[in-house]
């Protein structure tokens, strides 16, 4: 934060084009994602839901990236830990809870897919699957369509560092590089692919691979919200200007186990997790807002209370909502639904 003149202060976030309200909204969305995630871990332990795959520790980069995009027009291909991202582009906690409880009203899949498999045509969140990184060529195909139709939009796709080893990552990047397509690829490098640490996944840096594809590759501290915002915003400007893709490697740490079916202390130590908890970007960003004079503990307490209420209400709604009728299993195999799926 710097002072310019006697009356007008400039801050890092305003320099980047973010208003105070937007900076606060970013922080609130990170906290919402964190609290949603923590609630799911509790719900699973309490036996209310079968499964949760967590994004705790990754919310800062997810939310910051979303705020740097055109959230009204761009296309999004998040991966399964991106609760912060999808909340930032318009999905509601209620909608996510409907997915967690696998209920009929779930807009992601109507209760068909595991939680974390996002999709909403209304929000241009492209439906995803579980085999990892298949979404990268899809993002490239959407960027190709944008180029063909001369639309000023980008596609934004995320994946983990383990997933970056898949052929679809390479094939998609190369295709996008050849045709200079408006796609932004963000690797959320959380240091683990389930149990396998990054040094057994990667011989080098994910970001360095961009050299081979002929476009910029940038490594960024994923716990630094404003730095992630800046990098993604610049990547978007390049993409819209016809300068092609950008590969971003956001460094972070998966603070929770891979999923509720995983005992992470079988392959890493509590000390390591605690050490990384100290680097958590959410309290850091809160501190930044306080130092800017636009946030305080009182407002923070109010925010957390409001989030708690929101998550409580969404949980109750999701819990009570009806399951899909069993026969709906047979629906939507093809556009013409008559008699399909019945063998």
């Amino acid at each position: 934060m710097t002072q310019s003149g006697s009356t007008k202060q400039t801050f890092q976030h305003t320099e980047l084009g973010l208003s105070h309200e937007q900076a606060i909204e970013m922080y609130a969305t990170m906290q919402l994602a964190r609290k949603f995630d923590e609630r799911n871990l509790l719900l699973q332990r309490a036996g209310k839901i079968n499964f949760h795959v967590s994004g705790v520790g990754q919310e800062v980069a997810q939310v910051a990236a979303a705020f740097a995009l055109d959230r009204e027009n761009d296309y999004f291909l998040p991966y399964y830990r991106d609760y912060g991202f999808v909340l930032a582009v318009g999905m509601t906690v209620k909608e996510l809870m409907l997915s967690v409880f696998a209920k009929a009203e779930d807009p992601n899949s109507g209760g068909r897919q595991m939680p974390g498999h996002f999709g909403s045509k209304r929000l241009r969140i492209v439906t995803g699957s579980s085999p990892v990184t298949t979404q990268v060529p899809h993002a490239v195909g959407i960027a190709l369509s944008a180029k063909m139709k001369k639309k000023p939009i980008v596609s934004f796709v995320t994946f983990g560092e383990g997933s970056s080893n898949q052929g679809d990552f390479h094939e998609g990047c190369n295709f996008a590089g050849v045709h200079k397509l408006p796609v932004i690829l963000m690797c959320e490098n959380n240091q683990y692919a389930i149990s396998v640490p990054v040094h057994k996944q990667l011989g080098g840096r994910v970001s360095d691979r961009a050299i081979g594809y002929g476009f910029p590759g940038i490594r960024v501290d994923g716990n630094d919200a404003l730095e992630v915002y800046r990098i993604v915003k610049e990547a978007r400007e390049r993409a819209i200007a016809g300068e092609g893709p950008t590969l971003i490697e956001a460094m972070m740490y998966r603070l929770s186990p891979h999923s509720t079916s995983d005992n992470d202390l079988a392959y890493r130590t509590k000390e390591e997790v605690d050490e990384n908890r100290e680097k958590d970007g959410i309290p850091k960003f809160k501190q930044y807002l306080i130092e800017c004079g636009i946030w305080d503990e009182e407002r923070d307490t109010e925010l957390l209370a409001a989030i708690r209420k929101q998550v409580d209400e969404a949980t109750e709604y999701g819990d009570k909502a009806p399951f899909p009728v069993p026969e709906s299993v047979l629906h939507h195999v093809y556009a013409d639904d008559a008699g399909q799926g019945e063998g």
Partner: protein, 327 residues
């Protein structure tokens, strides 16, 4: 009506659909400047430009995956696999993605992609330029699969595939490109997906098949006519979803059925056709259901005697048909 080659009918279908709808585009290896290794897309880049007839990097999963992404956006891509033997790297994109996009999003998203792939041997292509991979994709709900035999159907089914709201695999037979000719209207028409076609009316035996081997079936039927054996021939045209009604009607007509395809026998389309017949018509049959297919070996060899041994031909088909008639 013009008489044209099977390959010209495929090209004409793409040309017409691209003229009709600017969202239709073709992508694949060598499809642009060269016009395809078989000339299937020849002239299209001159007419429609580099973006709509796109030479892609040599990477089949990206060809399929990029096309799937474009289809979800609302485009109507026709992705070419240079040989169906090379489409296996794209199998995950086709089976895990294209086939499930509508279903997994509860009808929110759709994937109207067409994937064209040349199948079949008899061109001295050896193990990896001759395969029939239908059975790999057959039985995956969410996919439609067509495999035209006649030039008329080659055009009409490709146009129907482009207009279909769901993913369609279009298996064109590479030996048929120049071998099969027929009357093809030069105006707009489609052949509906999911409808089989009676190629020949007959009384004694029924033969069911798809793609190039039906040429041998038709030739054999001509000869058997002279022996007083009358064959009823059904061209499936679409192998998924199968036209169950047409299959049952064709078998009911004669009570004796032979199923013919170039894909190997075990787990092939013929196995499912046999099962449908057995489930519905067992007590109306006058002979055991017969199948004539390629042997269960990994693929056909390049040496001429080996290839000839592997491939179906008129003589093999004729013998199988005669044996069934005499049963």
């Amino acid at each position: 009506m013009a008489v044209m080659e099977y390959i010209d009918a495929i090209r004409l279908a793409m040309k017409e659909e691209m003229e009709r709808d600017e969202d239709v585009f073709v992508l694949g290896e060598d499809v642009g400047v060269k016009g395809g290794v078989f000339t299937t897309t020849k002239g299209l880049q001159d007419q429609f430009g580099e973006l709509r007839v796109m030479d892609t990097p040599l990477a089949e999963s990206a060809i399929a995956g990029v096309a799937i992404g474009a289809a979800m956006y609302g485009m109507k891509p026709i992705a070419e696999m240079q040989y169906s033997d090379f489409m296996f790297p794209a199998t995950n994109q086709i089976i895990s993605e294209a086939a499930k996009i509508r279903y997994r999003s509860n009808n929110d998203w759709s994937c109207p992609v067409v994937i064209r792939a040349p199948i079949g041997g008899g061109i001295f292509g050896g193990l990896y330029h001759s395969q029939c991979p239908e059975s790999v994709f057959f039985g995956t709900p969410g996919l439609k699969i067509v495999a035209p035999y006649r030039a008329y159907d080659a055009k009409g089914l490709l146009k129907a595939a482009v207009r279909d709201p769901d993913p369609v695999i279009y298996f064109e037979n590479k030996k048929s490109y120049k071998l099969i000719t027929g009357e093809v209207p030069e105006d707009d028409y489609i052949v509906p997906i999911g409808k089989a076609n009676v190629l020949r009316e007959g009384e004694d035996i029924t033969v069911i098949g798809y793609s190039m081997p039906l040429l041998f079936v038709e030739q054999a039927a001509e000869e058997l006519e002279k022996e007083g054996i009358s064959a009823h021939i059904l061209d499936l045209r679409t192998i998924q979803p199968l036209d169950k009604e047409a299959i049952l009607e064709a078998v009911r007509k004669t009570g004796k059925v032979l199923i013919v395809h170039e894909d190997n026998k075990t787990g092939g389309v013929g196995a499912e056709v046999s099962a449908i017949i057995a489930e519905e018509l067992l007590f109306e049959l006058d002979a055991p259901i017969q199948r004539l297919c390629a042997p269960d070996v990994p693929a056909m060899p390049i040496n001429p005697p080996g290839e000839k041994f592997y491939m179906l031909n008129k003589e093999k088909v004729l013998e199988a048909m005669r044996n069934l008639a005499l049963f």
